[in-house]
């Protein structure tokens, strides 16, 4: 128990002292997860809008698949991206394995279906509400898309935050494709796994506390968004 108390004290000291090692890991984590979220939004929002608005054969299957992929296990994503990027894989010649780029790719695969599925739901609901009115105003399908995206802005931003939360918290994918290399691909979740197994509880706890703080900050942002939306009678 004394070990534990000492570890917490040391963890807090690391955080308060802006420990260089710790800061490096936190910054890389944020870089990777933010990049993956931006890429995931760039792919997922238009994809979700398209599935919500277009009618095409296999649409129901597309919705099923994209919803199912929200729960994609990160280790499986890591394994698949590993196979793609490894020397023998189709993208092996790029030499991306064990680089932050590989981690961004893996997290993008995890985040995109989350954003796409939530966006699809949001835009489909909004569309069923707006459809007749928009057509009465003379709005065609092409103009309807940006209208629906803008009017769904709060929910879509929440979807992106959900994607970021998932990316920042996952460990399975980044440890496989990144390899947890010190100063290169070590992020918060992989560092926690390693340091805990090594017995360096202070660094693990310090990173854990920061990860928790990030999770709380994301949820606060979601709540704040929702309050703003309600205040402006958005819902």
């Amino acid at each position: 128990m004394q070990d534990f108390a000492a570890a917490i004290a040391e963890a807090l000291r690391l955080i308060a002292g802006f420990d260089a090692n710790l800061a490096e890991i936190v910054i890389l984590s944020l870089k990777v997860s933010v990049s993956a979220t931006i890429l995931g939004a760039a792919i997922g929002l238009p994809l979700g809008a398209l599935i919500a608005i277009a009618s095409f054969p296999g649409r129901a299957l597309a919705i099923l698949l994209i919803n199912a992929m929200m729960g994609l296990p990160p280790v499986v994503v890591g394994l698949i991206v590993y196979l793609m990027l490894s020397n023998a894989g189709p993208m092996g010649s790029f030499g991306l394995l064990y680089s932050p780029t590989a981690m961004v790719i893996a997290q993008t695969v995890i985040v995109t279906p989350i954003i796409a599925a939530l966006a699809r739901q949001t835009i489909e609901d909004l569309r069923s509400e707006y459809d007749e009115q928009l057509r009465a105003l003379g709005v065609g399908p092409l103009r309807a898309v940006p209208t629906l995206l803008w009017d769904g802005r709060f929910s879509l931003l929440t979807a992106c935050l959900a994607g970021f939360g998932r990316a920042a918290a996952e460990v399975g994918a980044v440890i496989i494709v990144g390899g947890n290399i010190n100063h290169v691909t070590r992020v918060m979740t992989t560092a926690i796994a390693l340091e805990t197994s090594k017995g360096d509880l202070a660094l693990a706890l310090g990173l854990g506390l920061i990860l928790l703080a990030i999770a709380i900050a994301i949820n606060a942002a979601v709540l704040g968004l929702r309050a703003t939306a309600t205040r402006s009678a958005y819902a």
Partner: protein, 255 residues
């Protein structure tokens, strides 16, 4: 010479392209799940004044105006706007006000400007024209509020202002006051009366005989998917021709 003729022809079509009246429906029928909701309706909507559509629930009133506005395709028959098939480009010439206003998640002003943008009005003119429309609906003081914090009556006034902003030839109202209190109803009826007296064609669905008395120039009575009679409102109120309409005006339940 043939080329000159062709040019003239194009000009005429372009000019006609801005117009939607008269709206004509010929042989309009609509079936849903084997049930015939509209049954061979012929209707002409031209000129000015207010035409009130009245009839029991399920008579097909809402469906008929949606078909005439080009929002729903009839199962049979055809609709024409000023002699040609409905098209999206002319949709802003027909203002449609629904029973429940559907407002964008934006400000009152932005809602109105949106309709103008869709109608192709340039950025410079949009704000001015939107403000003018809001002033007519007496909503200027709420211009910058989010549209969806407005009261029910204000929301409906906004949806009318939005429909008016593009300068339509005709406004179609589908029971615009059925969810509203008397004060809001009065404000909306005043606006409908103003619009009508400026020469905009008004088509109004209502279940309220008082509203019919206050606003109608002519009345069309729908029953079982057909127009049973269409007469000037004074004649209709004095003595409807059909037994069903007589019963309806007396306040009896018409099935």
């Amino acid at each position: 010479m043939p080329e000159g003729d062709h040019q003239l022809d194009t000009d005429m079509r372009d000019r006609r392209g801005g117009e939607v009246l008269p709206i004509q429906g010929r042989g309009l029928a609509f079936e849903r799940r084997g049930r015939r909701i509209l049954d061979g309706i012929d209707i002409d909507i031209e000129d000015t004044g207010t035409l009130v559509l009245i009839g029991p629930n399920g008579a097909g009133k809402s469906l008929l105006v949606r078909i005439l506005a080009g929002l729903i395709q009839p199962t049979a028959g055809r609709v024409s706007w000023a002699g040609s098939l409905p098209d999206r480009r002319r949709a802003p010439r027909i203002g449609f006000v629904f029973q429940r206003p559907v407002l964008l998640r934006r400000s009152v002003l932005a809602n109105t400007e949106y309709a103008l943008a869709v109608a192709g009005v340039g950025r410079a003119d949009r704000t001015r024209r939107a403000q003018a429309a809001l002033e007519r609906a007496r909503l200027t003081h709420l211009m910058h509020s989010p549209a969806r914090v407005l009261s029910g009556g204000e929301q409906q006034l906004l949806s009318i202002a939005r429909a008016l902003a593009t300068g339509p030839e005709i406004l179609i109202f589908d029971e615009p006051t059925s969810n509203l209190d008397p004060a809001a109803t009065t404000a909306i009826e005043r606006l409908i009366g103003d619009v009508r007296s400026e020469g905009t064609r008004v088509v109004l669905i209502t279940h309220d005989l008082g509203q019919l008395r206050r606003l109608a120039d002519e009345v069309a009575f729908l029953h079982h998917g057909r127009i049973i009679e269409r007469t000037p409102s004074t004649a209709f109120l004095a003595k409807p021709q059909s037994a069903a309409a007589q019963a309806f005006v007396r306040g009896e339940i018409v099935l």
